[in-house]
């Protein structure tokens, strides 16, 4: 019995994401006012981001991740590097405060947990396939899929902020909303994944390099 329960465990629900009205209320009440975009502005943003995604062959970037759990005194901070190669190879590598890498490649998920390696086939798992596509799309910013998400567009200071609420009920039990911030040229600056409980993971990118050749070794397991 117990063995059967644990049999699914390598399936790691990275990024399972949901939405509720409170997010809107909370964010609209913060000091940095965000204004809803007009339809024309939203269309312009989509066009800009899609054009940016289209010319993106590689991305390498540093990132800082803040895991917010409401009952903690401080967010849990971790740092690492991200490497992306079109069309769909992604590697997240955490370097502090622990060593952990996750590589999405060839419909598979490879994990290197401080030297302990494992992998799983994504092909057979619908949620993970979706997740993989989503992670890839969110790096490129190109996830403006009205059939998969309810999408809302905002202007926040000099940046654009887009809220994506998954329509798939199963997916929404993992993550209720993605909030993605784009800079003036349409690159992703920040991704926030909000859980149904309103706890969230915020990832802020820095030192981003675009379209520089990345050696294959970067994407080896």
């Amino acid at each position: 019995m117990l063995k059967r329960i644990f049999s699914f465990l390598p399936i790691r629900p990275e990024g399972i994401l949901t939405f509720n009205l409170l997010c809107y209320l909370f964010f609209s009440g913060t000091a940095f006012a965000q204004v809803k975009m007009s339809t024309a502005e939203a269309t312009a943003l989509r066009t800009k981001v899609k054009a940016q995604a289209k010319i993106t062959t590689t991305v390498s970037s540093d990132f800082t991740q803040y895991k917010h759990l409401d009952f903690l005194s401080n967010d849990i901070e971790s740092k690492g590097t991200l490497a992306f190669k079109a069309p769909d190879i992604v590697k997240w590598e955490y370097t502090t405060p622990f060593s952990y890498a996750v590589l999405f490649k060839d419909e598979k998920l490879f994990i290197n947990d401080n030297g302990a390696k494992s992998d799983m086939d994504l092909g057979s798992n619908k949620v993970f396939k979706q997740l993989n596509q989503l992670i890839t799309a969110s790096i490129r910013g190109d996830m403006f899929d009205d059939t998969a998400f309810e999408i809302n567009y905002f202007i926040k200071e000099d940046n654009s902020l887009v809220h994506f609420m998954p329509k798939d009920e199963q997916f929404a039990t993992f993550i209720k909303a993605f909030h993605i911030s784009f800079n003036a040229v349409g690159e992703v600056e920040e991704v926030k994944m909000i859980e149904p409980s309103d706890d969230y993971t915020q990832i802020i990118f820095s030192n981003r390099t675009l379209n520089q050749p990345l050696p294959d070794a970067v994407f080896s397991h």
């Binding site: 329960i5 790691r12 849990i76 405060p97 622990f98 859980e195 149904p196 993971t201």
Partner: protein, 203 residues
Amino acid sequence: MRFFLISLVFLLVGCASYPKKNGFVRVEDSDRPIQNPYFSDTLVDYIYKAKIDVFDKSFGGILVLKKLGPASHRIAFTTEMGNTLFDFSFLNDGFKVNRILKELDRKILINILRKDFTALIREQNSILEQYQKESESLKKATILGKEHYYLYQNNRLAQIVRIGKGTPKVVFLFFEINDNIAQQIKITHYNFKLTIALKAIID
């Protein structure tokens, strides 16, 4: 006859209590309750990198423990990328599931985690019996109705052992203690293949 005597010795040793088997001698009980200092500070976020080995599977994540008030704790487990797998509240012997991933939502698993975490975080407990062996002391107590022994080495809590039918069923090891924080914790189950290894993440 000799065989009978040997059998008898084995039988007696087999029936001996956990302290006796390990060479401890009963002493007068201390007036002070048992103290587990490792999750006792409400100002500290106890964050651990966790590695869980169960049967032939191995997976990791971040285990977060927080004392919210007297005998009140919150424990959450997330993936490295931040997704919450479970989130439990503990108040005395009480327990509440705030959130659990659908795939993990199995009564048998939740019961194991409840029992293990209740033992891990229980800050005070009454001593039922006390034993001594040189600089080590062993204190018997119950947690959720199960027999447990707290082993102190030089007055520092080193182990909690859950006993079933006179033998260890689950052992909690605390090591690399630094300022009342156990930098490493290992929980080993002996009735089936499950170990949970925790390593503190320093700010």
